[in-house]
Amino acid sequence: MSWLPRHGRVEALRTWLAKSLSARIVLLFLGLLLAVQAASFVAIRATIDRNARTAIGADLEVGERVLRHVLEQNARQLTEGATLLAADYGFRSAVASRDAATISSVLANHGERIGAGVAALLDTDFRLLASARTDAASLQPVLAHLSRHVGNARHAGEVMMVDDKAFQFVLVPMRAPVLTGWVLMGFPVDQPLLDQMRSLSPLHVSLETRRNAQSPWKTTASTLPSEARKALEHQNTIAGNSSLALALPDGEYSARGVSLTAEPDGSAVSALLMRSVDEAVAPYRQLQLGLAALTLLSVLVFGLGSVLTARHVTTPLRKLAAAAERLGAGDYTTPLGGQRRTDEIGELAHSFEHMRVSVAGQQEEILKLAYWDSLTGLPNRVQFRNAVLEAIAIGKADRRSVAVIMLDLDRFKHVNDVLGYRFGDLMLKGVGERLSQQAVRNGDLVARLGGDEFAVLLADIDPASDLSHARSVAQRLHQAFSDVMVLEDHTVDMSASFGMAVFPHHASNVDTLLNHAEVAMYSAKRRGEGPVLYDPSIDAASSQTLSLLSELRHALDHHELRLYLQPKLALDSARLVGAEALLRWQHPVRGLLPPMEFIPFAEQTGFIRMLTMWVFEEAARMWRVLNEGGVRIVVSVNLSTRDLLDVELPQKFEALLIKHIVPAEAFCLEITESAIMDDPQRALATLERLSGLGFRLSIDDFGTGYSSLAYLKRLPVDELKIDKSFVLNMAKDTDDARIVRSTIDLAHGLGLTVVAEGVENAQAWELLRDLSCDEAQGFHMSRPIPAPEFANWASGWAARHSALGAKGIADVNVTLH
């Protein structure tokens, strides 16, 4: 890290700390320990310092007492010596002799005996009688001092200067036996005394003297080494102070001046007691070193301990993190471990393990939901798509073909609606089973794509026969649906629309392939045919269809739809009795479009309901116009399957009737057989309500479905419309004629009016009239007429009709065409 800039290093350290819990724990503990140690070290150091200084101060104080004690003791000894001398009979005899020379020699002798530097005999008034070793002048200051403090016992042993030297003086009386004089003895205060002092205490002592106030202090004796002594002499102005700090060559000293004497003339003697700070602090230094060593040791031990503790905490955490990482990567199978611990980390491990197990379970469930259809147990769309994807990849590599057959049950919604969803589900299961039975080779896959949509994948097909293979399989599956399915006592007639697409012919990728198969399937459904193989043209048609829906919406909103009316005439009188409302689309590009171009599509998409409502409203408006113009007819409107299934249809119609002030009896609603049969129950309910409202009801295209007259009997219908296919062939085909006849008879038997469609010639007209058919509708009378022109046509027809009277319609027809 050393190459990093300082800021970078700090940043890196911070990052490392942020990442490593154990590093933070260790650092925290060490930091705390160091802080505590530092604080105690500072406190101890301060205490030591204070103690050392106090101890030095105490040492110096003690030193002073020791010094004074030594001096006192000296004085006592001296006093004893002097006293002995003073009491010596020989000495007294000599003194009594009054011989000065003798006395001096005796003083000298005795002084020497007890080591006195000064020995003198004073009279009772402290006048010098005799002295040894010292002349009278030198002693004069001493005598002056003594005379000032005469008789004051406390001054015994006082230190005074004689000839620049310090002496300790004692004065003892000489009695013979009454006081006859004084013996003064002076003992030098010098090196031996200081040495004695030094031996008694850890202090150094210097003796400082000065002759008078102006003269400098002079060191006369010292226990200091000579170097230090010299240095001290240079600082000799300080000797009078009571306490001071000295910096000498051999270290720092604390010093205390002890004044031994101070005369009015300024001469003074002081002892300077000195304590080496280094020496005083030395034992504490040892203590501090010990403490420092202890700190170092405790930091090491603590560091080691906290590293181990942190490891103990973080290692299992790291393991758990790694385990969680594995979980994140989707590995739910490896147990985590570490649950043996009973502490919080153990709990954490337990929680993780629990999570792993439940996530694994959920994952399995999700996978199931994601790739399998829970109802049929077949693969779902996702898995199917993946399989197709794989198959295409293999196909690309091995030059093999892949086919997808897609199928959609017809009218499954109605099964669901009528028989219930449970039944619908059973049916879907049955379909799945049936498909699985029919399918297929190894590697083929049946899937439910959703709703009633299934798909079969045929993978790895020989390209030479791929299309025929797909066709044959689709055909086989289609066949399988022709057998009825029996479910819970219900026999269901199933049908399905099949579409197929083959890679590489129809698509090069999975989505396009599936899309094309679906397009083909819808095409099959529209056409109502068997399996349809994808073809680009279908696609175009289907896309056309898609755009058709939006165009239809546009048409509805922009008045592109046109209402046409085709007249219905009474066969017996050729009188106009009604008209069928028909829809045309005035397309802005493609021109007028016939119903076949868009009605089936509208029925398929449900848009037919919008169209029905539009037609009904237009018809109502038109009826009102016609009615006001004196044309009284019943307008027929076609209802689709989806209309019948719309339970709100009656209300909607009723609302429109009210809006346009038209009676329900003005309408005849035409329903195809198949529309009823898709959901007979619901259809019946709707029809009954419509009938209840007063609408006439008519069965359209009768004869094309399977409905029986017995069933029809239960319907509230008023009219039956014979499909034009029978009417058109009636003249040539006797069977058809027979059907028409019997139908008319039966209908009349049931009390229904019979209407024939597709009357295209006079022959048919005549025939139907002979068969007692009630009404006719067809090109022979009129093509569908744009509604606005219908009034004109009606008045024209009425004019001709009244002119013709009971004449045959054939004539009329001729005139019309």
Partner: protein, 199 residues
């Protein structure tokens, strides 16, 4: 320091022509009567005839001289009988009579004759605390003050005298000078103040 006050009081005794008495009061510095002081009245000129006294004893008993103060006339022999069981070494460094009686027990062989007037201080070389004074007077008119500090000198003929007093408590050399006094056949009284400092 010669602040000594001497007061003379003339006692009216006109008929007494030949001899009279002198009453002397000795006081100390503080004005208190000083008992035991030796009062001496010496003729101003010439001498009065004095006879040596018979032998006087200054014994030593219980390591003390007894009596401590002895007043003798010039020429009086003084003996120093030792009544203690220990020996004594009696000495004097006084100029009027230096002598020593080296360690002895019992009675010394010969008495010491004090033949000069003055005061001799006696000590014992063995026992420093022992001290005695021998006041040698050269006049018959001497006496010691009683407890009230007073003494009466009788039969003092008229004439000029020097009046002195001595007390052991007066330090050596601090003795006041003698006062001149004229006795005129009448009783008189005098007061002497001594710079004595009694313990």
């Amino acid at each position: 320091m010669p602040s000594r006050l001497v007061a003379f009081t003339l006692l009216s005794s006109a008929l007494c022509a030949q001899a009279a008495s002198l009453a002397v009061t000795v006081i100390d510095d503080a004005g208190k009567p000083l008992p035991g002081a030796v009062v001496m009245l010496e003729p101003a000129s010439g001498k009065l005839p004095t006879k040596p006294m018979a032998q006087v004893d200054i014994g030593q008993s219980k390591r003390q001289f007894t009596p401590q103060i002895t007043v003798v006339t010039v020429g009086t022999p003084v003996n120093f009988p030792n009544f203690d069981t220990v020996r004594h070494h009696v000495y004097s460094f006084s100029p009027i009579k230096p002598f020593e009686l080296k360690l002895y027990a019992g009675v010394p062989n010969a008495p010491i004759v004090f033949d000069k007037p003055g005061t001799a201080v006696l000590g014992c070389n063995i026992h420093d605390r022992m001290a005695a004074w021998v006041v040698v007077v050269d006049t018959p008119h001497h006496a010691r003050t009683a407890a009230d500090g007073q003494v009466r000198l009788d039969n003092v003929p008229a004439g000029s005298y020097r009046l002195r007093a001595w007390h052991q408590a007066v330090p050596a050399g601090k003795e006041p000078a003698a006062e001149a006094l004229t006795m005129a056949g009448t009783d008189m009284s005098a007061q002497i103040k001594l710079p004595a400092s009694l313990p």
